[in-house]
Amino acid sequence: MVEKVNKEKSILTFPADREIALETKNVQVYYGDNHAMHDASLQFPRYSITALIGASGSGKSTYLRSLNRMNDGIARVDGEIMYRGLNINSNEVDIYQMRRRIGMVFQRPNPFAKSIHNNISFPLHEMGIKDKSKINEIVESSLKQAALWDEVKDDLGRSALSLSGGQQQRLCIARSLAMNPDILLMDEPASALDPISTYKLEMTLSDLKDQYTIIIVTHSMEQASRLSDYTAFLHMGKIVEFDTTKNVFTNPTMKLTEDYVSGNFG
């Protein structure tokens, strides 16, 4: 399966019958004159977790944020990002609609300064869902999916800011899930959490992959190997290797990848 494109990188591609949730073709990202991401071409298979790993400054977050156009106004992104046959990196795309399909969870929990209930119901309301019972239903189901329901069901009117960091992060996941997205982008979602909260978060993500495609940036190689089905290793703005997680961690093709996953880096 591994097709060695050239000596610089080794990128796994998928047969035509494997459903692809998102594909980037020759994506370049520029911060002013700084060319931060080179020729990123990847396929993200549907209903799987793909981890993006690499050292700080390797371009993981930059790449991830390009996938739902969160870099708009910050960086220039060239190339194609194909979602359901549509290049979402074009001006004609309604980015607000698109972001409901491709949700994002950030490094630090960022609930709104509103109640737990309103954190989820307010974006739904803005989306045009006005039916109260429907909203309550979605609030409950998304909190259950994010494994937060049992901890907060007795007091949904409480301020979201009074929750613990781990709970806040799961609320942010619930909030994204409430939009009924296809894809969830996660930018180091556990980096601000303690080990127990991290464990809970990972359990939640494993459950979610039956219904969602998850792309997760992580600094923790343990997390990537525990959690993900596929792993992409990035180095200095280039995707060096993309393969099944098992292969990346046990039998990498590229020397750079091997050095990184075995801790011989730098």
Partner: protein, 295 residues
């Protein structure tokens, strides 16, 4: 001299300097309150001023001050909010927005008497609005706009960028993110700024002498028709405020109890401004607690 000794001396000097500041403030406030409060009675607060005889009150002036304050805030808050949102959320950093910021800076350090004279020439004379509440309110708006705009801009800037990203990532437009996420989160700061600016506006005299005028025509508080001459709600009547009244009594007051009226009015003014300041703290903390639900 060793580090420990130097530290002790520095600490002592800082305490002394702070002590001086506090002492001056307490002495000033104490003097105004002690000499003024004994003259403050219910009838002093509610009866109209008298020009020649003793026993006049400050009822009309007090009403005028609040009325002018409310009008000023009604005019200046929406403008400041719009300008603050533009500067904090939309303005790109270039020469134009730099120029806008410098202009606001300059405007905020403009002496209020200059604002007053400008208002006098433009509204009172040129636009023939005469000495009127509306002229005063517009002059005070000029006086208030830069500070309120800066305050709102700073409050919005204080809201973490994570909040904006949260809104955008959920498919909210930039405008919805600003109005429904960022502004509510900045509300405690914005509210504190409004109340503090209210205190400044309430105590302002120089900008009003030439715009709202120094006369307090007899008002009929039963007349609620805003177009009628003796209605308190009429915005085209001249209106002497409390601060202007204090200035006037002290420069040309000929009533026998001028100094008592002045002391009483000053005490009322100081108490009102104190209430605004304490109110700002209380309201800001209250809303913050309410939002964050922290005990």
């Amino acid at each position: 001299m060793n580090a420990k000794k130097a530290d002790k001396i520095a600490t002592a000097i800082i305490y002394i300097l702070v002590g001086i500041v506090v002492l001056i403030l307490v002495a000033l406030l104490g003097f105004i309150l002690i000499s003024g409060l004994p003259h403050v009675t219910w009838s002093f607060l509610t009866s109209p001023a008298s020009a020649f005889s003793a026993g006049g009150g400050i009822g009309d002036q007090l009403f005028n001050s609040f009325y002018l304050l409310i009008l000023t805030l009604i005019i200046s808050f929406p403008i400041s909010l719009g300008a603050g949102i533009y500067l904090a959320e939309y303005a790109k950093k270039n020469w134009l927005t730099d120029a806008i910021r410098i202009t606001i800076e300059v405007l905020s350090s403009l002496p209020s008497v200059v604002v007053g004279l400008f208002g006098f020439l433009l509204f009172v004379v040129q636009f023939k609005l005469g000495f009127s509440i509306i002229s005063g309110a517009i002059a005070l708006t000029f006086f208030n706009l830069p500070l309120l705009t800066r305050n709102i801009e700073n409050s919005l800037n204080g809201v973490s960028n994570l909040q904006r990203e949260a809104g955008l990532s959920l498919g909210l437009s930039r405008w919805k993110t600003v109005t429904k996420v960022v502004v509510p989160a900045a509300l405690p700061g914005i509210l504190t700024g409004i109340i503090l600016s209210a205190g400044r506006v309430f105590g302002e005299a120089a900008a009003l002498i030439f715009t709202a005028g120094q006369s307090a025509p007899m008002l009929n508080y039963a007349n609620w028709n805003p177009l009628s001459g003796d209605s308190p709600l009429n915005i085209f009547r001249p209106a002497e405020t409390l601060a202007v009244h204090i200035w006037k009594i002290n420069t040309e007051g000929i009533m026998p109890d001028a100094s008592q009226v002045s002391a009483g009015a000053s005490a009322v003014l100081v108490v009102a401004v104190l209430i605004f300041n304490l109110g700002a703290r209380f309201a800001g903390n209250y809303i913050y607690r309410k939002i964050t639900a922290s005990k």
